[in-house]
């Protein structure tokens, strides 16, 4: 695929000049820290003494470390619920809000609001909603005669945080799908209608195939966010002593590095997580080549 014109002569100079700040940022900020983490993952380092060579032992220990395995499996469980939740709900929402209805701008704004609100503030509000004694949700359950649920106790906490995270992410997903939807030419739908296709058939046969680039993109973004989810989860499930009832992988990395003084373990965990994200992206790009339709 070739797009547009090739930069020539002076343009080329400008091109590089404009790229310099980003490249410097990437080199030192991203690649530098990536290399530092990779290096540290082969050392034992308590942040004070000199790092000592550890070979692959940090990686071997990952799989024997129960608390990391729990955190990692929590991240997988979380992702398995979060990614489909975000993609499906935000697609449906975008389809709903892609029609000519009154106040569509207001609805779009409402659904987008969580994206631009501070995660800490909204997590506090959700704490009030989820409360066992004083929570709004249990108040509603009880007023229709159901028994209250302990939303943030160990058994339900995972589902509860998935709900909050999905709620917080559908606004962004909706915008991406709306952009994809408006790009679909009206005549396709008119043609489908002439052929007698129902609304649902149009959605299935016209909308879905033509919005696959957005689905692909949104799944990728949602998966990356899911693997790194931290803020809402920690705010909703934190306990005294800085612990969390739903420890996820990023939480484990942070805690090992800065609370338990195990930089090497934390780095190995970070690398393992990054490799997993990379592997997932590989699968996604394979999937893209087979199923994603570009106009």
């Amino acid at each position: 695929m070739e797009y547009g014109l090739k930069p020539l002569g002076r343009e080329k100079l400008w091109l590089w000049l404009m790229l310099v700040p980003t490249i410097i940022g990437l080199a030192f900020g991203t690649i530098g820290s990536l290399l530092a983490t990779l290096t540290l993952s082969f050392f034992d380092w308590d942040l004070i003494g000199a790092p000592t060579w550890a070979g692959f032992s940090n990686y071997v220990q990952l799989f024997q470390n129960e608390s990391y395995m729990e955190a990692f499996s929590n991240t997988l469980k979380f992702s398995a619920m979060y990614v489909p939740g975000v993609v499906i709900i935000s697609l449906l929402l975008a389809v709903l809000l892609n029609r000519k209805i009154r106040g569509v701008g207001i609805f779009r704004t409402i659904y987008f609001l969580p994206t631009v609100t501070s995660a800490v503030a909204t997590a506090l509000v959700w704490n009030m909603i989820y409360g066992r004694d004083t929570g709004i949700l249990n108040f509603m359950l009880e007023s229709v005669g159901l028994s209250p649920i302990c939303w943030l106790c160990t058994n339900n906490a995972m589902l509860s945080v998935v709900i909050v995270n999905v709620w917080g992410a559908i606004g962004e997903g909706m915008i991406i799908f709306l952009a994809g939807l408006t790009a679909i030419p009206r005549d396709y739908y008119e043609a489908a209608e002439l052929d007698g296709a129902s609304g649902f058939q149009q959605f299935l046969r016209v909308t879905i195939p033509l919005v696959t680039p957005s689905i692909f993109f949104q799944t990728l973004i949602a998966a990356i966010n899911a693997f790194q989810a931290y803020d809402y989860i920690y705010m909703l499930t934190r306990r005294s002593g800085g612990d969390s009832s739903v420890p996820v992988a990023v939480f484990s990395i942070y805690r090992n590095a800065f609370h338990f003084f195990r930089m090497g373990d934390a780095s190995a965990q970070a690398i393992q997580l990054a490799l997993l994200v990379a592997a997932f992206m590989g699968v996604m790009f394979w999937w893209e080549r087979r199923y994603v339709v570009y106009e």
Binding site: G29, S33, L47, G241, F261
Partner: protein, 423 residues
């Protein structure tokens, strides 16, 4: 990508930040030292007063005080250490002391103590134990806290009940707490709990209860967790009863009320340390204080201290110790007593009006007298991780989602693994 990057960026910053460092002290020239501590914003004012007094007496030394909240304090400290620019003097919590000492971060203060004969004579000996190692002190206590029973006088009066006394047993506590648990408007929900305390960390309640039942927390060589053996098991059954009978709000419920239900006037009793007093006074709680109840094996409470340590890599060891020495002198300790959070480690100050005549209509001496039967809060390597496994492991039991017996055995197994990893 942002959150992962955060970790990576911090990691790389740590590497590049090495090599800054403070200027070495040049003979007698003026030096500046940094003192870092955790605490409430009002503590900054008091410590600034201590520092001002110190600087007036030592014009050659300038002290910068940095106060952070508990969580960011430790993160900041770790980052500074990793960057090779640690503060000269910093505050230490006794249970975490060994984690820091064993990493080689702290200066052995013994030569300084030897050079100042009689320096430690005025200290409560119980507060020194936590910091004493085979080759000397790598830190010194600055204040301490014993845990006592706080009770809301208004709630006892309203129920026509006698206030707790020094002779109370845990059975008395249970009976009174039961009587003080009220559903005033009969809507099926408790409006006033008999007791609220934290059962996540050992300090506020469960260590006292275990000791009063003749149990122990950890073996002397720090290899075995003993919280499920002998009398200790009875302690957990007691706590289970408190939660099951609804006398104490479960952790999930307590969280909704902002944590301290005694301060919000929703619990008749609590067990906590002196640091809570300023908050309770500010919230206009009409409270009294009694010693912890007695168990089958007598009275027991917990004593824990906050202390000072000096970074080994500090370039200003002498100035750092001079500051500690001043803060631990009568003048410094008096200022600390005025703050009202904790109890001075100097006997002469704790037993003077500076401490005993503070605001509040309760007997300040209860906190001092409790030392007679206080056990030191255990200090061992891997404390934070161990405490997390125990505290978190039992929450499902308190929230009514798991059985006590098997959960306790499971928790002890994981706790012992952590001890083995931190040998």
């Amino acid at each position: 990508m942002r959150k992962l990057l955060f970790v990576l960026v911090v990691a790389s910053l740590l590497l590049t930040a090495c090599g800054g460092g403070t200027k070495p002290a040049a003979g007698t020239g003026p030096v500046t030292i940094t003192f870092m501590m955790w605490g409430a914003p009002e503590e900054q004012t008091v410590w600034q007063a201590v520092v001002d007094d110190f600087q007036a007496a030592n014009p050659n030394i300038k002290v910068n005080v940095e106060v952070s909240d508990w969580d960011s304090y430790w993160t900041k400290l770790n980052t500074l250490f990793a960057g090779g620019t640690p503060p000269d003097v910093f505050a230490m919590d006794a249970p975490l002391y060994l984690d820091w000492q064993s990493r080689g971060a702290l200066l052995n203060l013994q030569p300084y103590i030897d050079a100042n004969p009689g320096f430690l004579d005025g200290f409560y000996p119980q507060t020194l134990t936590a910091y004493k190692l085979d080759d000397g002190y790598y830190g010194l206590p600055r204040d301490f806290n014993t845990i006592t029973l706080f009770y809301n006088k208004d709630m006892f009066d309203a129920a026509g009940m006698a206030y707790p006394t020094a002779d109370w047993t845990y059975d008395d506590l249970l009976a009174a707490a039961k009587q003080l648990t009220l559903d005033k408007d009969n809507d099926g929900k408790t409006d006033q709990y008999g007791l609220w305390t934290d059962t996540w960390d050992m300090e506020l309640f469960w260590s006292e209860l275990i000791w009063a039942n003749g149990g122990e927390i950890i073996s002397p060589d720090h290899t075995k967790t003993l919280i499920a053996e002998g009398g200790a098991r009875d302690a957990w059954t007691y706590i289970d009863t408190l939660y099951k009978e609804g006398i104490m709000p479960t952790p999930a419920t307590a969280g909704e009320y902002g944590g301290d239900l005694f301060q919000s006037g929703q619990a008749a009793m609590t067990t906590i340390g002196h640091w809570a007093v300023p908050g309770y006074v500010a919230s206009n709680i009409n409270f009294g204080v009694a010693p912890m109840p007695k168990g089958p094996k007598g009275a027991a409470t917990s004593v824990n201290s906050a202390g000072f340590v000096v970074s080994k890599d500090s370039k200003n060891h002498d100035a750092a110790f001079a500051f500690i020495k001043f803060a631990l002198s009568e003048a410094g300790q008096k200022r600390l007593a005025e703050l009202g959070f904790s109890i001075p480690v100097l006997k002469s100050v704790a037993e003077s009006d500076a401490y005993l005549k503070q605001a509040g209509s309760f007997d300040q001496k209860v906190f001092l007298d409790s030392l007679a039967f206080a056990h030191m809060k255990p200090v061992f390597k891997g404390y934070e991780e161990w405490a997390g496994v125990v505290g978190d492991g039992l929450i499902p039991v308190w929230d009514g989602e798991a059985e006590l017996g098997p959960t306790l055995d499971e928790v002890v197994k994981s706790a012992d693994e952590i001890l083995a990893n931190n040998k």
